[in-house]
Amino acid sequence: MTDHPLHYAAASGVFSLSWLLIVLPLAGAAVLLLGGRRTDRVGHIVGTIAAASSFVLGVVLFAALLGRDGDDRALSQHLFSWIPVNGFQVDAGLLVDQLSIVFVLLITGVGTLIHIYSIGYMAHDPARRKFFAHMNLFLASMLLLVLGNNFLSLYAGWELVGLSSYLLIKFWEDRPAAATAANKAFYMNRVGDVGLALAIMFMFATVGSTGFADVFGAAAGGVIGYGTVTAIALLLLLGACGKSGQFPLQAWLPDAMEGPTPISALIHAATMVTAGVYLIVRAAPIFNETQAARTVVVIIGAITILLGCVIGCAYDDIKKVLAYSTVSQIGYMFLAVGLGPAGYALGIMHLLAHGFFKAGLFLGAGSVIHAMDDDQDMRRYGGLWRYMPITWVTFGLGYLAIIGFPGLSGFFTKDRIIETAFDKGGTSGYLLGAIALLGAGITAFYMTRLFLMTFHGKARWSSEDPEGSQGQPVRHPHESSASMTGPMIVLAIGSTFAGGLFVLGHSLQDWLEPVAGEGVEGVHTFSPLVLTLLTLVVTIGGFAAAYLRYQLRPVESVAPADSEVTLVTVAARHDLFANTFNETVAMRPGQYLTRFLVWLDLVGVDGLVRGGAAGIGGLSGRMRRLQTGFVRSYALSMLGGAVLVVGALLLVRAG
C-alpha cells in the first residue's frame, strides 16, 4: 500500500545537488583534520568558505523552492542504499522541503556569520584550525540532521551533532572543567538518544520502515494504535529533551558554556539545541495523533520556562545566564509545539528569531569577555557602553528582542506563543498562559539585570595600573575587531526585523503549512490586543524591578554569600539542585555498583575459578603424601584395592 497521502517528489535539477549542502562543510572538516599543521595558516579561510558556500547553495535551493508551487515543495533525493537487510531497508536520502530548507538557511547562515566572527575571536588560539574543522563538522552533522529523509539518517545527524558539540565543548581540553562538561553533555545526550533510537525501532517494528513518508503516512492514516503512537511520540520527546536541554535533561547545557563563546552561540543557542523542536515539528503527523504526548510536551515546556528563568536570575556568570535564558526560551518553543498544529509554526518562528537574537547576544557576550580578559563575572563589569559602543548597540538590540520590546522579533514570536497558550482554553490554557506570561516577566528581569550590570552603572574594574586600582581588577576594554563586530551587526539586524518578517501576513506560517499543518485560528481567550498590553505590562514590571535593583542601587563586585540571600536564590544558584539530584540518583550509585562489580568479578567469578584450581592443587598436595615411600604401605593399598575389587564383584554377583 504505497498510496499513503504523503509522497515526496524525486529531487531533480538543482535539488539533486542538495547533498552538496552536507558534503561542502564535511570536505572542509576533512581537509583541515587530515591536512594537519600544514593547513594551519589557511584553516580559518577554508572553514569559512566551506560554510559560506554551503549557505549560498542553501539560498539557491530556497529560491528554487519558492519557484515551485506550494504543495510541490518537498523533494526527496535517494543517494544510496545504506543498510539493506531484507525487510529493513534504510537508504541514505535527503529531503528538501519547507521545514528543512528553513533550518538549512538558519544553520548555514548563522553558521557562516559565526565562522567569520571566530576568525577574530580565535585569532590568537594555536589550535584555530582544529576549531574551524570541528565547526565545519558540526555544520555537516546538523545539516544531515535536518536534511535526512528518514529517521535513521536523522539519528545519525543527531548523534554526530552530539559528537561535534562534545568536541567543541572540550575544545580547550587542558581545562579539566571543559573535559568534564563535554563528557556530561555527551552522556546526557546519549540518554536522550536512547529514546530516539527506541522510537525508531518502534517505527520499524510497526511500519516496517523508518522513512518519513512511510511512517507519517501510516501515522496520518491513523492505522497505528494509539498506544504505539504515544509510545513513539514520548520516546521522540525524550530524545528532544536530551538534545534541547529541556527538563529533566537540562543540566548539561549550562556546563557546556565551558566551550569557546562562538560555540555557545552557534551550537548551544542558535542551532543544535533547537533540534528537539525540529524533531517534534518534523514528527508532527505523529504528535497530531496523540493528545497525551502533546500534553507531556507542553508540561515539560512550561516547567523548563520557569526553571530557566529562575536560575537565570541568580547567576553572575554572563554566559551561564544566557545559557539558562536559552533553556527557558526553548521551553517556550516546546510549549508552542506542544500545543499542536496551532503552535508548530509559532515554535519554529520563535526558534528562528531566537536563533538570531540569542546568537547575537552570545557574540556580544563573547566580545565583552574578550574585552575583559576572559573574565565572565558580570559583577566585575559595568559601564562598558562607553568603551565598546558597537557591542553595546548590537547587544542592546538583541536584549530588546528577547524581552519582547514592541516591534522586535521577540515581541512578535513570544507574544503569539503566550496568546496561543491562553487560547488552548480551559484551566490548562490559563495555567500555561500564566506561566508563559510570568516567564516573559522574569525574562525581562534577568536580561535587564544582565544588560545593566554589563554595560551600565559604574565600572567595577579599573584601567589604572595595580596600585591605582583599589583592589579592583585591572582591565583595558576595547571594541572588538571588524570580523567580530560585523556578524554581530548582521545578527542584530536579524533579531530586529526577523520576527516581523515572519509574522507579516503569516508568511512563515503559510510557508510551513504543508509540513506543520495549518494553524487553526481557535477562539481567542483574550483579544490579541489585550494580551499584548498584558505582556507589555508584565515585561515592564520585570524591567522596572531590575532597573531599581541594579541601576539605581550600586552592585557589589562580589556576590553576597548564600546566607545573605533568599532560599530561592540559593536554590537557583545551585541550579535548583539538578546536578545534586543527578549525582545522588545516578552517578554515586553507579560508582558504588561499579566498585562492587569489580570486586565481585575479582573475588567472586574469578575467585571461583582460581579457588577450584587451588582446591585441586591442594588435594594433589595432600594426596601425594599417601605415597609414603614405604613398600608395605604400597602393599596395603594394593591389598585394599584387591579387597574392594573382589568385594565389588561379589556384590555384583549377589545383586
Partner: protein
Amino acid sequence: MSVDNHLLLAQTQKITPPSIEYSSLSPLLIVFAVALLGVLVDAFASRSARRVIQPVLAGGGFIAALVAVAVLHGRRAVLAAGAVAIDAPTLFMQGTILVFALLSVLLVAERQLDSSGGAIVASAAITPGSKGSTAQRVSADMQTEAYPLMVFSVTGMMLFVASNNLLVMFVALEILSLPLYLLAGLARRRRLLSQEAAMKYFLLGAFSSAFFLYGVAFAYGFAGSVELGKIADAVGTVGKNDIYIYLSVALIGVGLFFKIGAAPFHSWTPDVYQGSPTPVTAFMAAGTKVAAFGALLRVFYVAFGGLRWDWRPVLWAVAILTMVVGAVLALTQRDIKRMLAYSAIAHAGFLLVGLAGTNTDGLRGSMFYLVTYGFTTIAAFAVVSLVRTSDGEASDLSQWRGLGRTSPLLAGTFSFLLLALAGIPLTSGFTGKFAVFQAAIEGHATPLVVVALVCSAIAAFFYVRVIVLMFFSDPLAQGPVVVTRPTLTFAAAGVGTVATLVLGVAPQPLLDLANTAASSGFVR
C-alpha cells in the same frame, strides 16, 4: 586311592605330544633364541666386544622378529595345545612391542650421555658409596647383561599378549617381570634410588603375581581348565558354582591392573619410573603397558567376555580412580620422571576408558592408543635423558627453567611431546584419545568419557606448566647441560617424535591396521 591310581594310569596312557607349528611361533622363538645367545655372548666375549655385539645382536633379533611378525600377518590359530594364540591382535601387539624394544635398545646402547658409559651401571655388584663406586661412575664399562635381560623381558611380553592359557600367561608375566626387576636396579647414577626402585618393583610385583596366580587357580577351579576358550564356554553354561569365576576375575584383574599401573595398584609406578635408568623406564612405560593391556584385553574379551556386564562397573570405577589419581597427583610433582610416571598412570586410565566400551571399536582404539602413547613416551624419556647436570640427569623440574631459551630445539621437541601427551590436535595423543573416547561413547560409557575429558583438562595443566617453565621463565645461571652428541638417543627421540607427528596428522594407515586387527578379533 585305587581310583586315583586308575585315574593316573588312564592319564598316562592317553598322553600324546602336542603338535607345535614352529613357524607361527617364529617371532617368539627368534627373540628367545637371541636372548639365550646373548647370555652366551656375555659369557664368552670380551668386555669391550660385548658392548658392541650385544646391542647389535638384540637389535638384529628384534628386527628379525619384526620381519617374522610381518610375514605371519593374517595367521590365525591356537597353537601348542591351546597354550598360545596367534591372531591379528596378537601380531599387532607383538609388532608394537618389538618396535618399542628396538627404540629402547637404542637408548640403552647410548654411550655418549655420561662422562663415559651409558645409563647402565658398570657393575651393579659394587656397593654404592664405596671407593669402587666412585671409580665405576667414570668407567667406560657397563653391565652388558642388560641386553639379554631386555630381550628376555621382550620374550615375556610377546608371550604375554599371545598366551591363550592362564598358566602360560602367568609364566609369561614372570618372564617379562623378573628381568625388569633387575634392569630397574642398573642405573649408573643414583644407585641407591635405583636399587630401591628394583626392590619395590620386585616385592610388589611378586605380591601382585601371587594374586594373579590365585585368580588363575580359581579359574581352574571354576572351569576345570585354564584355557581362555574353555573358561569362556564354562562362563556360558549357567548354573555352576560361579563364585570361583568372580573371584578369579577379581584376582586376575588385580594382577593385570598392577602391571598397567592402574589405581589403586599404581603406587609402585612413580617410584620405579623415577629410580630406574631412564632407558629402562622408557622400555617399561612403553613395552609393559602394551603387553599388560594386550593380556588384559584378551582375558576380558575372550575368557570373561560373558561376564561383561558384571565387571564393567568395576572397570569403570578403576578407570575413573586411575585417571583422577594420575592427573591430580601429577600436578604437584617436581621430578620430571616422576611426573611422567603419573602421566603414565593417567593414560592407563584413558586406555581403560576405551576398554570400558567393550566393543571392537574399543579394541581398535586401545591398540591404536598404545602405539601412539608408546612412541611419545619413549621419545619423552629420551629427551629427559639428554638434559644433564654434573651428577646425571637434571630430573628436578626446577632445573629445566628457561631451557627454551638455552636450547630451543630440545625444549621445542619436548613441548611438542608434552602437548601430545596432553592430547592437543595434530598430535598422535589427540587421535588416540579420540579413538578410545569414540569407542566409549559408542559403548554407552559417556559419563566415563566426560570424566576422562575433565581429567585431561587437569592433566593438560601440568604438561603446560613444564612448558611455562622451559619457555616463560629465565634460565639458571648454571643451568643443566644439554648433551649434543648422542646419535642413538637422537635417533630414538627422533623416531618417537616423528611418529607422534605423523600419527597425529595422518593416522589412517595405522588405524586401518588396528581396525583389521580388531575386527578380525581374538581367536579362541
